[in-house]
Amino acid sequence: MEIYLPIAELSMNVFVLLGLGAAAGLLAGMFGVGGGFLATPLLIFVGIPPAVAVASQANQVIANSVSSLQVHWRRGNVDLRMGLVLLLGGMVGSSAGVWLFTYLKRIGQIDFVIAVLYVVMLSTIGLLMLAESLSTYVKRRRNPESPRGKLHTHYLVHRLPLKLRFYKSKLYISALLPVGLGFLIGILSAILGVGGGFVLVPAMIYLLGMPTAVVIGTSNFQILFVAANVTFLQATTNGTVDVVLALLLILGGVVGAPIGSRLAAKLPGVVLRGLMSVLILAVAAELLVELLRTPASPFSLGAREVSP
């Protein structure tokens, strides 16, 4: 069954889009991060113009994070103070990101930048996760009851000024750190159409040293508002948010998410992280191949400009 997407201006199979949404939702349910990093490249692979894919995916991320936030808010797993500080950077970053996106689109380099950023980011994160889950797995096998270490290690970044206390996260760190992190995630969010959870969550755990329990809820809090900002700005400046596309992805996600969380409850964390890292690396490899392979045709068209 085909449906015409009014902003993308092409017709596409409904079930392909629902399936993509479900796959993204499955990941969201399994790992607690949005599946945008997977859904956006796949949307581009099936032929949605990158600008529309990114902007509509941002719209989908709102739905994803609001349903996840519901749960974590009720359980009190949101560090509101940390969320607001992250958001401060996130709003500025995502606004700058949409501006950058518009500029890159105008000079005809947005597709390339999207692909390269995905390859760099996904392969870095994928490798890090794979290494981490493998070493954990090996350690567990050798020593099942490893002693609990320090709450978190102290790096140079903990000596920055403007220190703030984050009670829920049991942290006393410089506010500059989460603001900067939020800023970077905001840019990613705007250019790649992802919530950024797959970068934000590890960064909050390993870089900020937040306890895992509050990480997902807090990141969802920040992602919700950043995605809303991106959606609004993309709709205003580029007019590339396709609500029909977004709605189909959301519907698919609604079905996929609970299946994912049920699966997650059955599989141990190490296995999950290992699986996820393999998936991330596969998407990165596919994108890299696309960049390296000689295209069928070197030509493409930019936006049509109807003279006034």
Partner: protein, 267 residues
């Protein structure tokens, strides 16, 4: 002089054609309407389209429109469909440090969004005797698009070729010359294919009657292509009031996400 004649014939026909538009039943069987005097210029070419417009709805997957009509034999019929003209920018990828990225761009003005030709005989033969100047093959039409800014001729030819290639791939410049089928020596019909990714605007469908390589009659019909219904409303909203549309999109996602989360937890 020739052009003047063509224009005259065309305009006369246009007027009489418009009159014949009234409460029409079945074109071949109606005969002359009584209001038209018998000795007035009997049109050499009568055409109509199976649809007055191409409506892009939520279920749009491209469409084929039928043009049919009648002509006074002998003669051959050529149909040309031209989409609205606009500036197009062609991007060219090159390998840079092993990666393929856009390194060159060239804009062209007055590029038709769509261009298709159909003929009742191989076009080369019809055009060789030159009704040329008026009926242009795709290659001839593309050679008239104006490049923006200076560039070497060889390079321009490459970009022009690239433009045609992409348009072909999107089905907007059908590669093959369409077949105008003639029946009983005077009835003709031709299918005009429109792909799903179709730019909006008013297209022009022109039919020509050729005798001995000369145009003896020409009829033009506008064919509006536009979104209708739900998709038209959404697209219109998105382009006219971006901020409000953005807020609408946010509210939709918030509601859908909240509802979806609530429903699925119950199951």
């Amino acid at each position: 002089m020739k052009r003047l004649m063509i224009a005259l014939v065309a305009s006369i026909f246009w007027v009489s054609g418009a009159q014949a538009q009234g409460p029409r039943v079945d074109p071949p069987s109606t005969g002359l309407p009584p209001s038209v005097p018998a000795e007035s210029t009997t049109p050499d070419l009568i055409v109509d389209l199976s649809r007055a417009r191409v409506s892009i709805t939520s279920a749009f997957q491209g469409e084929s429109i039928l043009m049919f009509g009648m002509f006074d034999p002998p003669g051959e019929v050529v149909v040309v469909v031209v989409g609205p003209e606009a500036r197009e920018t062609v991007l060219r990828k090159q390998r840079f440090l092993g990666l393929w990225l856009n390194t060159g761009r060239q804009s062209f003005d007055d590029v038709p969004a769509y261009y298709a030709i159909a003929a009742s005989q191989p076009l080369q033969r019809l055009l060789a005797r030159s009704a040329g100047g008026e009926i242009l093959s795709l290659e001839d039409r593309m050679s008239t698009v104006k490049p923006v800014g200076p560039r070497a001729a060889a390079e321009l030819a490459q970009f022009r070729g690239g433009l045609v290639e992409v348009k072909r791939r999107e089905g907007l410049y059908p590669a093959a010359i369409g077949q105008v089928t003639v029946q009983a020596g005077r009835l003709f019909r031709v299918d005009l294919p429109f792909p799903s990714r179709l730019p909006e605007g008013v297209y022009e469908v022109k039919a020509y009657l050729l005798r001995d390589g000369r145009i003896v009659a020409a009829v033009s019909r506008p064919l509006p292509v536009g979104k209708v219904g739900f998709s038209a409303q959404l697209a219109g909203w998105a382009s006219h009031d971006g901020p409000l549309y953005g807020l609408g999109a946010i509210v939709m996602a918030l509601f859908a996400g909240w509802l979806g989360g609530a429903v699925m937890r119950r199951l």
